[in-house]
Symmetry: D3
Subunit: 329 residues, 6 copies
């Protein structure tokens, strides 16, 4: 029996349960008698709850549980002051391989395989041989692809799920294609290549296990720089890659946050860079709105609370329906 958190709320008081959860928070506390007990916050992708390991065996090592561990627990449903707070009878740390990661982190609504095939098709449309080779060096490298496919595009604001980076990348490419069709002076190959590579540094910025975390490197250097570094090293392996093409490509990536305040060390100064920056902003913001609506409103209508980054509450009275989208994209 491996219950989702939201299923625990369906059980009657006193019912036995078990499941695997991530430790979000752990604290060793003391009974009035001075005996120690454990207070944990446990979660999976469906929610979180507080649990108490009320009477651990005298020889139990309470210090072994850390934030981020996956544990198997069993116990009985209890409520304290109206809130679910079961007491545990058993708690056991699990090793990677002993649990299914997809219980803990959600996944893009779009089928990852299909989306990736779409992306490979986009690469096929690139005519500039240097750019095409560069893209192939990334997207026909299995190790990179495996990492790329599991990376989210964000931790909280948008595309915070497995496959999120892929989904975001593809959406940005689509918008860029629409714009490139109308504006003839845009170098389409450069733009699409930049769109595909703009966020690849996120494979080093986020570590995705049972939770999404920012790495030290991610926090200290950021994906703008790391995407550029990764591209620069790959380019150094390609003979005769034109210097000015490298510069223009790196500029698109460095400038894609659009403004200094958003962490770009350069503002967009080419047609391709400015297109990418606005396409990236458009997809990120719309997706951010949609995810927030879903999280806040579920299936209801009305107002979310104020979004901490967008600085507004969001109003929604429509329907979020992705049942059939895989087919007609």
């Amino acid at each position: 029996m491996d219950l989702l958190v939201k299923e625990l709320y369906e059980l009657p008081v006193g019912a036995p349960f078990s499941g695997t959860y991530v430790v979000e928070h752990v604290e060793i506390k003391k009974h009035r008698t001075g005996e120690p007990f454990l207070r944990l916050v446990l979660s999976d992708k469906s929610g979180s709850f507080t649990a108490l390991w009320w009477k651990p065996p005298a020889d139990a090592d309470l210090t072994q549980f850390q934030k981020g561990d996956v544990v198997f627990v069993s116990g009985r449903i209890e409520y304290f002051q109206g809130t679910l707070q079961p007491k545990l009878t058993e708690i056991k740390k699990l090793k990677e391989g002993d649990f299914k990661p997809d219980k803990f982190i959600c996944q893009s609504r779009y089928p990852i395989e299909e989306q990736f095939e779409e992306l490979l098709n986009k690469i096929e449309t690139i005519k500039n041989p240097y750019l095409k080779v560069l893209l192939e060096k990334f997207f026909y490298d299995d190790q990179f692809v495996e990492l790329f496919l599991r990376t989210p595009a964000g931790k909280t604001i948008h595309h915070a799920c497995i496959g999120g980076l892929l989904e975001h990348t593809l959406s940005v490419v689509e918008i860029c294609e629409t714009v490139a069709k109308r504006f003839k002076s845009i170098d389409r190959d450069l733009l699409i290549t930049a769109a595909i590579l703009h966020d690849i540094g996120k494979v080093r910025e986020y570590s995705v296990n049972v939770t999404i975390e920012r790495t030290d490197e991610g926090l200290l250097l950021g994906h703008l720089y790391m995407s550029c570094e990764m591209v620069a090293f790959k380019i150094s392996e390609i003979d005769n890659f034109p210097e000015d093409l490298k510069t223009k490509l790196l500029h698109c990536i460095l400038a894609h946050h659009g403004k200094y305040e958003h962490g770009s060390p350069k503002m967009p100064k080419t047609l391709e860079a400015v297109t990418l920056a606005y396409a990236d902003a458009l997809d990120s913001r719309v997706k951010g709105f949609e995810e927030f609506i879903e999280k806040q409103l579920g299936n209801q209508k009305g107002w979310t609370r104020r979004h901490f980054a967008f600085e507004v509450p969001i109003f929604f009275d429509g329907e979020i329906n992705y049942e059939e989208e895989g087919t007609n994209l």
Copy 2:
């Protein structure tokens, strides 16, 4: 003989010429003898030059010429300190109808007829009956359409040409369609309607004659408000138009500048409003870049000077080529 300004530069010193030009600037000055003469800056869409009416007849009314007048002049080519500065032998004010406006203001590169047909096709795709009627009330009203088709989308920054509003509107609609295809929770009809109507107030904000000018009303109220007022009055003519639909549509229009600093009294708070705001920004910015490149670099490559609004110089080493675009859009 009605020469373009740029053709005057080809003529040898002393050659006679004539043409119709707009008065950009006019000043009555005095010879050392105290006799008055006229100093004018004249222009058409290809450039501008200074001309002197050096010896006007004693009974000439020098005060009759105003900024914005169209005049027919003739004279001979002269240079002063290396600069073209012909002396005029004749100058005559023209009335509307006596000259062709398209000598003075440029026109969208895209064929206006075809683009407008595209727009009507977009309207056909709207399924919501209220929104469709609303759109038809505007776009099957000949008087409105005539005005709409000649209105630019801006005075200096982007789409500053006849048909510019149409071109911009259509491009925004295309981007919105791309986004709506991916995001199922967007109300497509609402979004496309808002995209089509978002800038209609510009027909009152700009007066287009031989130059593009902002009207008093445009400067004091702005097109955000005027678009909304126009939509609100039209809606009041439609029976049973749902109140909440009106509110959501007006919100999209009011919020489409995206931020307070850009003149929106409300930030976007719905999926449709946020999509429209970013799509509008994307098209305006890319077009603004392209127009500035063309104006600054002509057919050359390299750097423009710093753009006063975008706050960067722009780099371009490609080609601006719109010869064939009419056919395959």
Copy 3:
């Protein structure tokens, strides 16, 4: 017996009480036994407290109570961990008409009748016939006046009480009059008319029942736009209302927040608009300070905590005394 919240704190433990209160928050929780109970936060204009409906009858409909309902409750005074938390023996939803709204929302310190008469007197001083007719169309329309008189000028920052809009409007008019006396180039009639109408959209922005709430329309469109729309429709009913006068009046209203950051789509560009914007800011800010001092300090002296919008703590060592003000205004 209908006790104010602040009167409950005077009662001894175990005393019976009853009263009508607004439901601020409601939650269905579970006893350890799995039986449901209700946790409510109840309030009136004097304060709020938590109450428990500990043992509802088995057939009680716990889901009938919503945020914003007015309920009659009875029970006994209890404290939990030192905090007032009575258990209820009875709770009953009331319909409009079954309770007195003035128990729930405070009212302007100034007598509303007298203040409104003042306002009508101000209208009498307007000499421009178009502006006077326009004002009369609003202020001799009983339905509008009834709404206007109960509307607050804000939800939290200033004039958050019945009659608040009237009080604020009159104060702004007074300041504008002082300025118009000194500055001869101001169009006094235009300024006073704009001052009287500048916030009328708030009758649609706030819904005032037992609490003050922002409407959907208020959140999506805002009172700047709605005030203008209301004025524009009324003007369309007046024959020959001069176009430029309409534009200047709407400009004053649209620009009265003074800056883009404060939600004005246009900055003030006329003497009247700039005067109104600063007079509005002056009255709002001073009133905001005064209300915050009163709320935070009661009758004490010293420092308030930091105001979230003004970004400072406020120091006050004087006295707030409005006993006699009705007479000498």
Copy 4:
């Protein structure tokens, strides 16, 4: 004959003229022969023009003329390339006393004597004995008063004329009185005292001779600080002046620019300080608008150019008429 600059434009070519003007700019240049000549820009309050001292005597000291000097010149009217540019036959430096300063700097429209009497009347209304003594120490000190009455309130933006500080001070006091009448919790005496003293440091910030200049001290310390220092020293001469009253008064002065960005080291944190800051902003801004309209439009209607500080062009279609204001204030 001492002609105003604007009168020179009425004279025919070749007419002799003379007058006293301020040197705005001076440059020693060389004829093709290598002989030196002088190019000057000369002005009075009605305008400015360029003049050439074309053939100075061989022994003339050309270096004696400095920006800010007042000179008497004579010569004949000439135009160069259509612009007034007389050649001078004589130029002579004048000492203070040899010219009337009121030819060079304009004066408040309001009679200074009457306005000052108004101000003394305001001081009479102060009941707090410490504040009254403090005010009297300034305004019954002839030396201070003489300085105060000639000081402008600004160099370019508002009240840039003799008597400007007085006019501004009185207007701010009037607005503060209007507000204090409505808000009973304001300490009226403190507010009016602060309003009267808030800008006195300007007597040290501006030096007014034939032009208005900022002093070194003004540029390095500013009038906020200097007003406070002046008040602090005067208070140190008054026995038992309450410490907290001093602190509250200095706070009003220090904070009267309202925001850090406007140069206040503290934001307003009391009712009196916030009232003063907004009243000061209101009067300064309205006056700034009015002066700019007058300067830009003269007696015409329409739009000024964009104001460099207010960041908008200003629209005016009324009349600036101060003929009769002296009587009914």
Copy 5:
């Protein structure tokens, strides 16, 4: 027995304890029976805890304890819901003199005596006689020195300890000396004097007893102004102190926050002022980082939480070691 808060956590449940602590928060609450009890938050420099005076004698005056009082308490160790929350058997208010202040507020890591001697040495290096006299008037005035030595440089962000102002002052002087050595055009005497005096107003801004508090004067006027006022009064006692030297010195002090947003009424406009402003920012920021690391991480490595003022989390994987620094400075 006077235990530090952190020592209480070492005691077993039920152990008796006593100690002197500062009252951070106090509340009179009621038992279910209606009997009052006291809930206190008590602290010393090592931490804080909650305590209950559960059964005060019937005649005890519960209202006598105020935030900021120092109390002697005794009781027994208890935990509630896993948190230390002893019940007190005795609580007694202490008067100044009855306790050692250094239990409550931490002290600069650097020996105050040595640091002060360093500072006096710096004063010895000043050659300008006026500046030297000015410094001596402050630093050979025992009363001022006593105050100066105990004043912190901040309440929360940096140098929040006794001796903090001294430590900060000296560090700023050291940086200024390094810069002055390289830049010959800096007036070293003026710079060092300004560096020594720049924050002296903090002796009036902070009151340091058992906690660090901002005074009313500090909150309303700030140390920039007060430092200047103190210097201005002292200068008025020195014969012939040059006016321009006073102005330049006060400018350095007034401008040392560098920007309007940081509360300087003037931006730095001299070499000395700009050097001081940046040196002050450098030391404050580095010290602020160091203190936050220590507080958040103790002896651990990794990330602090986001700093509220610096707006970043801080990463540290080194060691904070000040054992031996006293000797080699």
Copy 6:
């Protein structure tokens, strides 16, 4: 004869002269007769002047001269309207090697050899072997060093001279050393290494020939990124260079502009990064002030005009004297 521009001003009208100058601006213009002539702006490090090639031979190639060319010219001194404007009799393009670059671009006041030795000494003090090897890979690479020594630290704001990067780097290192001495928790080796390397990307950002120009790469990528890329590639050549050390070093470089608005993609998050950012700001700003004072005031005292980047005018009444500094640093 190769005269400096400032020497031309000493010559009498009609004197022959010759010299080598940089072409700042060139324009082909036409005589009234239609014959072409050349208008040039020529400069060296001492100033600039306009020259006319009035009568070029009929077969001269006027299009051969470009902005940035160095030309040898001869002609005779003439003035036009009081301004130096010689007519040229000869003009000849020079190739690199045919002229001395130091006529065109100024050089650091500090002897470059001595300063570089200082820098090598600093490298000697680094104990961490990885960092030391890294530094040696740059500073014992003759090609890099040659480039480094001639690179300026800026184009206009600070250190805009040959050797400027070296001078700035050393000054930043000195400040960092002062700070590291006081703050024991700083990793001195990391800080000094980062200080030495922080701006090395400027060797690619600026091209220094006869003028200082920003490269395309510099404008599109910036020295923050390029410094990091250069360090990253060098590190990849060092065995076992610790990953976390690389990350911390790159972070210092990426974050050294301190804020997003200044072009850093990450804000400083370590003690070393924050120290470097503030030390860099301190030296740049002080040097920027000093250079502007010198340029604006020469040997005079008083006020400069407003600095476009610092946003203030600067006051200076001291002396700029660097005669003897080489010896005692």
